[in-house]
């Protein structure tokens, strides 16, 4: 193991963990320096698999995965102290949390060249992986899995393909994608059904969508060429994204309240989504006002 990267005293922990963990930088494309945090398995590090985890965005940090999702250390709300996550994935695996691409989290490029794309990112991640196994050669023969979430639905398969086609000796066995983007069109079109069957849109709008976007057996929503249909689709997605629902978890409160949804600092994904739907008319016709306008007019709770 690359001893200089070992974390020997993590602030905020009452007692340091029994497993080893390392944090530092991996070389990637050009001058990019990608930050990684590697936690060994609590079980049997020498024989347990190595799992790479990547959060999505694009542009979001895998430290969120470490400190509030699957990692062993979770941050308390005081922003100072940590508690151990009893359901950490390093109960059964050695886990690498990689912050990619450069510009995300602690990862950086000295000359601040941050413009990138899907293919540059997958190449950078592939090079970072080889840099990791140079630092930790003892893990080169462990079974290896690539995992990720959200826009990781692009990161994971594209990196897996590079491993499949490349000549680095990585004992890759599989990949896992959680709530990942697999296809932009089906992601949006399916959301129309999701919205209706979860009661987010009413029968009028649903019937309108069926009338204007479907031919009785098949529906085309976001790729439709019918402006009437597209107007209703925008109305539907407007309700999902813009009236204060927690888009990431329908039944959870929206932290910071509905106003945070209107925040100009939209995630890149939402920004992209709006671009994906850029061909839609920006305003639905008057009689299909968004829920927020309806709610503001009536006392309906």
């Amino acid at each position: 193991a690359y001893a200089p990267d070992e974390v020997t005293n993590l602030p905020g922990l009452k007692t340091q963990p029994t497993f080893r963990h390392y944090s530092g930088y991996l070389n990637a494309s050009g001058e990019d320096r990608l930050h990684y945090w590697f936690v060994e398995s609590e079980n049997d590090p020498a024989n347990d698999p190595v799992v790479l985890w990547m959060n999505g965005g694009p542009g979001c940090s895998s430290m969120d995965g470490m400190l509030s999702e699957l990692g062993p250390f979770h941050v308390n709300n005081d922003g100072q102290s940590l508690y151990m996550n009893e359901f950490s994935w390093n109960k059964v695996a050695n886990v690498i949390f990689l912050e990619a691409p450069a510009g995300v989290g602690y990862s950086y490029n000295p000359s601040k060249e941050y413009a990138t794309d899907d293919d540059k990112v997958s190449m950078g991640n592939y090079l970072a992986l080889q840099s990791f196994f140079k630092k930790f050669p003892e893990y080169a023969s462990n079974e290896f899995y690539v995992t990720g979430e959200s826009y990781g639905g692009i990161y994971v398969p594209t990196l897996s393909l590079r491993i499949l086609q490349g000549n680095a000796t990585i004992n890759m066995k599989g990949f896992a994608v959680g709530n990942g983007i697999t296809n932009f069109t089906t992601n949006s079109d399916s959301l129309v059904y999701f919205a209706y069957y979860h009661g987010l849109i009413g029968l009028n709008l649903w019937k309108g969508l069926n009338d204007k976007c479907c031919d009785g057996t098949y529906c085309v929503f976001t790729e439709s060429t019918d402006t009437g249909c597209l107007t209703l689709v925008r109305e539907t997605l407007n309700i999902v994204y813009n009236i204060g629902l927690n888009t990431y978890s329908l039944y959870l409160d929206c932290y910071n309240g509905p106003s945070s949804v209107k925040s100009p600092l939209l995630t890149r994904y939402q920004f992209d989504m709006q671009h994906a739907l850029g061909h839609l008319p920006t305003q639905p016709p008057k009689y299909y006002q968004p829920m927020s306008a309806i709610l503001s007019k009536s006392k309906l709770g």
């Binding site: 944090s23 995300v104 959680g178 600092l265």
Partner: protein, 143 residues
């Protein structure tokens, strides 16, 4: 860039503590930590169809969805996996954690399609016990 509705104040404060940056060997050049950065990013792939077709020739796959998420909803990923026309091994059926139904699973040759009931976008955060059971079964190649 901060995603709406998500509380990242604790994590952001912690990762910007000087003692934490020192303990994690963070470079001076690295800017203050934020959960998301608005990078100039170009999306190339509108679909992962061809990529999945290639990697599933060699690797096992797990595609899972918390079923209350609307950013990447479970129906869309289900449609995508069905479009791959993989050979189906089992019908869609509930899977459990203890006696509780934790979601649904459909097994194909080389890929498992799983939902995690009641979870949103961040499954390991919202359903940690179920997430650990799911990934353990997958890593150990158990049903």
């Amino acid at each position: 860039v901060v995603p709406p509705c998500i509380n990242v104040t604790g994590v952001t404060a912690y990762l910007n503590l000087p003692a934490v940056r020192k303990a994690l060997h963070i470079a001076e050049e690295a800017t203050a930590w934020e959960i998301c950065s608005a990078l100039p990013y170009k999306t190339i792939y509108a679909t992962m169809y061809d990529t999945y077709k290639s990697i599933l020739t060699q690797y096992r796959g797990l595609v899972y969805n918390g079923d209350t998420d609307m950013a990447c909803n479970f129906l869309g990923d289900e449609w995508f996996i069905e479009s791959l026309n993989l050979k189906q091994k089992t019908d869609r059926a509930p899977w459990k954690l203890g006696d509780q139904i934790a979601g649904f699973v459909k097994e194909f040759e080389g890929l498992s399609l799983v939902t995690v009931k009641g979870s949103g976008h961040m499954v390991p955060q919202e359903r940690p016990a179920q997430a650990l059971k799911m990934i353990t079964s997958f890593l150990q190649n158990k049903p």
